[in-house]
C-alpha cells in the first residue's frame, strides 16, 4: 500500500491553482512534476539531456494542466493526473528526437515481384511438408494484406509491426494523430480477422503452422 506524499487534497490543489495562491501552487506542482519525471526518465535519456527535457516537458505540461483544469474529474489524485500529462509531453518529445531521421519508406519490407522467396524457406529445422505449409500460409496472409487493407492501413501496420516505430511517430508522418491511427489499425486487424474466417482459417491455426 502506498502512502501519498501530497500536502494538498485535490480540493486544495484546485482552489490554490485557481486562486490567490496560484503562484505558490504552481511552484509546488512544478517541483513535484520535475521530481517524478526525472526519476521516470533517468534510465531512458542520456544524462546530459535529462535536465533540459524534464524542464521543457514540465513547463509545457503546466500550460496544458492549467488549460484543462476544468476537465479534471477527481478520479485520481490531482498530482497523478498532472504527472500523466507531463509524462506524455516528455515521451512525445523523446520519440520525436529518436525517430527524427527515419522515414516510413525506410521501414517498409523490400518489394518483390515474381521471385517471391519467404525467409522461412531457410528454416533448417522444418520438414519439407512443414515448409510447404508455411510458405502457402505466408502467401495467403500477404495476399489478404494486399487485398483487404487500404494503403494507409498497410503502411501503418507495417511501420509499427515491422519497423517498430511508435504510433505517435507513424501518425506524425501520416498527417494524423495517434488516436486516429490506433483506430485505423484496429479496423485493419478486424478486417483481416474477418477475411481469415472467410478463408476458413482461424488465427490460431495459422500460428500453429509456425510453432
Amino acid at each position: 500500500m502506498v502512502k501519498y506524499a501530497d500536502r494538498r487534497t485535490n480540493e486544495e490543489w484546485l482552489a490554490d491553482l485557481r486562486g490567490v495562491d496560484q503562484e505558490s501552487a504552481l511552484t509546488d506542482l512544478h517541483d513535484t512534476l520535475t521530481r517524478g519525471l526525472r526519476y521516470a526518465l533517468v534510465n531512458r535519456v542520456p544524462y546530459n539531456q535529462l535536465d533540459e527535457l524534464v524542464e521543457d516537458s514540465v513547463q509545457d505540461a503546466l500550460v496544458k494542466i492549467m488549460q484543462n483544469l476544468d476537465t479534471f474529474r477527481g478520479e485520481s489524485r490531482l498530482t497523478t493526473w498532472a504527472q500523466k500529462i507531463a509524462v506524455r509531453e516528455a515521451l512525445t518529445e523523446l520519440r520525436r528526437q529518436r525517430w527524427k531521421d527515419i522515414k516510413l519508406e525506410d521501414l517498409m519490407p523490400e518489394e518483390s515481384s515474381g521471385d517471391f522467396t519467404p525467409g522461412i524457406l531457410t528454416d533448417p529445422g522444418a520438414s519439407p511438408e512443414t515448409e510447404a505449409l508455411r510458405n502457402s500460409m505466408v502467401e495467403i496472409i500477404q495476399r489478404l494484406i494486399m487485398e483487404e487493407l487500404t494503403d494507409r492501413q498497410r503502411e501503418a501496420m507495417l511501420a509499427v509491426m515491422v519497423g517498430g516505430m511508435p504510433l505517435e511517430e507513424v501518425a506524425r508522418r501520416m498527417n494524423t494523430n495517434r488516436n486516429a491511427l490506433y483506430k485505423l489499425m484496429h479496423d485493419a486487424r478486424q478486417r483481416l480477422r474477418r477475411r481469415l474466417a472467410e478463408e476458413r482459417l482461424s488465427p490460431e491455426e495459422v500460428l500453429a503452422v509456425f510453432d
Binding site: I120, N179, Y182
Partner: protein, 77 residues
C-alpha cells in the same frame, strides 16, 4: 512485399487478439491516472479496468507512458 515469419507471427497474433470493444489511445489516457493509482495501491487494476489493461498490452506508446507514470509516482510516494 516480403514479410519474415517473425513479422507474420506478430501480425497474426495481433489479429487473433483483436476484439471489437478495444478502447483507443485517448480513452486509455483518460483513465491512465486512475489505473496507475490502483496498481500502486496493490488493487486488481486489470480486473477493475480490463479495457485499459487490454489496450496497454497492445499499444507500445501507451504502455511506455504507463510504465513511466508508474515510476514517477513511485518516486513521489
Amino acid at each position: 512485399m516480403k514479410l519474415s515469419s517473425e513479422v507474420l507471427k506478430k501480425m497474426v497474433k495481433s489479429i487473433a487478439m483483436t476484439r471489437p470493444d478495444e478502447i483507443s489511445c485517448d480513452e486509455c489516457f483518460e483513465q491512465l491516472d486512475q489505473f496507475t493509482e490502483q496498481v500502486l495501491e496493490g488493487k486488481p487494476a486489470a480486473e477493475a479496468m480490463p479495457l485499459v489493461e487490454d489496450h496497454l498490452n497492445r499499444c507500445i506508446d501507451c504502455r511506455e507512458e504507463f510504465e513511466a507514470l508508474l515510476e514517477a509516482m513511485k518516486s513521489l510516494n
